[in-house]
């Protein structure tokens, strides 16, 4: 879509050389849109000027005295709202979701985080094929249209990079971390597609296939091996995200989606799935995405993302708005199912209060939590900790250190925190020690 068509739709029609297009005629009014706009501009004493950039339409001084703009074919944000992803890494790279700018649980598709190892491929849906073969009765090629003909599944699910939160796990993390820079490799969408179990039924999966190997059509032909149990449980091939086709950055036209599991394993741009009786030992399940342990081993195929939470307001880079009522809010999530409880502390863990969990509370999805806080204007240390339905409670950093040592960065889910001062500043400050009463890193 050309820039002008998205951001300048109103004016683009006027200046695209189709002048007098019948679509510009207000039905029944006899007035052309051009006339309306001219009149509006005069009436408002404002200027509605043509331009190719966002924000070309100036607000009327009194919008109740001017006819408003007409519908557009593709909407866009208010020019006053400019949430952006945070980019990092040069060759493969990532971009992080601005968690502190979002409400509810859904992530707008254009703000969905990215992590890829070899760039975004642009794939023609007409020539796209998914091959399923290996330990199956009927090796099969599926077109995108084939995939869409199968019964659909659709679920609200989070996806999180296994490296998310690694920055928070550093011995002395920057106080200038934001929710986005700490945990922005997390997004939530409604994912729609076909259950992998449906496809594996279709191709006649063999009972002694224990793994499936999935590979993308990116430049790394990135591969991961997934236990078959996940396919029979809840894995899918997703082709839609938040109601529209998956975006190229998220795997257009189709990707593997493994609810609750580390993002890397949900292979994007998937082109081949091979059923096998052993894992492929791909680079991204050996050299990367394995978790060294203090006993000299490394945990491999550590798929599930354990319970986490992060307060997204009030946090750096914002300031505490002033003494009185402040609604503390954030996200909690677990790859093991439902978030059962989120507790919030405003005194660095000396006391904890149950936060309100906002509906919907869904398995393997982010849950929004809220806590009503009366700020007395003094120093405060805001923490949140999530407990999931298995009884797992988000640990403090020291517990993770004891279990995994300082060198294991993936699956970093220790309690995050924010320290507020009387001047209203509020900085990133996780707790390190025992869950209660501990103050410092």
């Amino acid at each position: 879509m050309p820039e002008g068509a998205r951001d300048g739709a109103e004016v683009g029609r006027e200046t695209d050389g189709n002048g007098g297009d019948v679509n510009d005629r207000e039905e029944g009014s006899g007035l052309t849109r051009r006339a309306l706009i001219a009149g509006a501009a005069a009436a408002a004493g404002g200027a509605i000027t043509a331009g190719a950039t966002r924000g070309l339409v100036q607000e009327a001084q009194d919008p109740t005295k001017v006819p408003g703009a007409r519908p557009v074919t593709v909407g866009s944000r208010s020019p006053h709202e400019t949430p952006e992803k945070l980019l990092s890494g040069s060759m493969g790279g990532s971009s992080r979701t601005p968690l502190q700018d979002l409400h509810g649980i859904m992530t707008p598709a254009d703000l969905h985080f990215e992590r890829h190892h070899h760039g975004i491929p642009y794939i023609n849906p007409a020539t796209y094929r998914l091959l399923i073969h290996g330990m199956v009765d009927r090796p099969t090629l599926f077109t995108l249209e084939d995939l869409k003909r199968f019964p659909q599944v659709s679920k609200l699910l989070f996806i999180e990079c296994s490296g998310n939160g690694g920055g928070a796990y550093a011995p002395s993390p920057s106080p200038q971390h934001t929710p986005q820079s700490v945990d922005g490799l997390l997004s939530t969408s409604e994912w729609s597609g076909v259950a992998l179990s449906t496809l594996f039924e279709e191709v006649g999966a063999h009972a002694d296939a224990t793994w499936f190997l999935a590979e993308g059509s990116d430049a790394a032909v990135m591969g991961r091996s997934i236990p078959m149990e996940k396919a029979w449980d809840d894995a899918m091939i997703a082709y839609a995200q938040n109601g529209e086709a998956i975006r190229p950055e998220q795997g257009y036209p189709a990707r593997v989606f493994l609810p609750g599991w580390e993002g890397n394993a949900s292979v994007k741009w998937v082109r081949r799935i091979e059923l096998s009786d052993r894992p492929g030992m791909y680079r991204d399940e050996t050299s990367k995405y394995t978790d060294p342990l203090p006993d000299g081993t490394a945990r491999q195929f550590s798929f599930v993302m354990d319970a986490k939470s992060i307060i997204t307001y009030p946090t750096y880079p914002r300031r505490l708005p002033g003494p009185g009522f402040i609604e503390i809010t954030g996200y909690a999530w677990t790859g093991r199912g439902l978030i059962e409880r989120v507790e919030v502390s405003t005194d660095g863990g000396d006391s904890w209060h149950d936060a309100v969990l906002q509906e919907p509370v869904l398995p393997k999805c982010t849950t929004r939590f809220r806590h009503a806080w009366e700020w007395d204007g003094g120093p405060a240390h805001l923490l949140s900790r999530a407990t999931d339905e298995t009884g797992y409670t988000q640990p403090v950093r020291q517990q993770v250190l004891d279990a995994r040592g300082p060198g294991t960065r993936y699956h970093s889910n220790a309690i995050r925190g924010w320290r507020g001062a009387s001047d209203g500043s509020i900085e990133f400050a996780p707790v390190c020690g025992a869950p209660t009463g501990s103050r410092g890193c």
């Binding site: 060759m91 091959l131 399923i132 073969h133 330990m135 009765d137 009927r138 090796p139 090629l141 084939d146 199968f150 011995p171 179990s197 594996f200 279709e202 191709v203 006649g204 999966a205 063999h206 009972a207 002694d208 224990t210 793994w211 590979e215 790394a220 032909v221 997934i226 236990p227 078959m228 149990e229 449980d233 082109r271 081949r272 091979e274 096998s276 009786d277 052993r278 894992p279 492929g280 030992m281 791909y282 680079r283 050996t286 050299s287 060294p292 000299g296 081993t297 490394a298 945990r299 491999q300 550590s302 093991r336 199912g337 298995t390 009884g391 409670t393 004891d402 279990a403 300082p406 060198g407």
Partner: protein, 224 residues
């Protein structure tokens, strides 16, 4: 890529699959771990990959009939993975000496340095005294092919599909054998005069080979 013994397994399966499928789509739940058991924990024995329990089978006949049968040549075009057992390794060979030339000709040297230690991109070379594995305890340690990769087959697989980074998948199989040899040589895992073929790639014992263990996190109150 199917294991070498895949054919015999298939023959046995021919009889078994229809029987299982007769239970009806979705009815047969054998092998599906209930609750919060660590996914794949049963199947991931890295010393004996593939030692999994039989699970559910697909349908004996297509349920919907969507999709088209894939031909052998269509499968072969995309079936590029190399198994830890060496399945999928192509014919051909190279030498470490040729590999050092490939290292320059295909510009590995520009991004990984003259010996794979100098960067600017991923560090590839380096051993730890005694081949210890202290990564969890030392945050400053960086992983390399020589101190962290469990299989040389993975090195062949990844290099062939993804490198050189800006021209991935452009080397011949002989060049890949050779440059894999060079990387193993940098890591003191092959001598300078080594010839590298599929047997070398399978048989080169990587120092970190036995370091990997299944995920033991299961949910519940214990932090692991």
């Amino acid at each position: 890529m199917r294991r070498a013994n895949g054919v015999s397994r298939l023959l046995t399966l021919g009889a078994v699959v229809p029987a299982l499928a007769a239970c009806g789509a979705g009815d047969f739940e054998g092998g599906v771990e209930a609750g919060n058991a660590a996914p794949g924990a049963t199947a991931v024995a890295t010393t004996d990959p593939g030692n999994g329990t039989p699970g559910r089978a697909g349908a004996a006949e297509p349920v919907y009939g969507f999709g088209t049968p894939a031909t052998a040549s269509q499968i072969a075009a995309w079936d590029i993975d190399i198994g830890p057992d060496g399945a999928g390794l192509p014919p051909g060979q190279g030498t470490v000496a040729e590999g050092l030339e490939v290292w320059e000709r295909h510009r590995c040297i520009l991004c990984h340095g003259p010996t794979g230690r100098e960067g600017p991109n991923d560090l590839l070379t380096g051993r730890i005294p005694g081949d210890e594995f202290p990564f969890a305890n030392d945050r400053t340690l960086r992983s390399t092919v020589g101190n962290y990769w469990p299989y040389a087959t993975t090195l062949f697989d990844y290099t062939r599909r993804a490198m050189p980074f800006d021209l991935p998948g452009t080397m011949t199989d002989e060049e890949v054998y050779a440059v894999v040899g060079a990387m193993l040589y940098f890591n003191d895992l092959l001598p300078a005069d080594a010839v590298v073929d599929s047997a070398t790639v399978v048989d080169t014992r990587m120092p970190a080979r036995d370091r990997f263990v299944p995920d033991n996190r299961t949910g519940g109150p214990t932090i692991r």
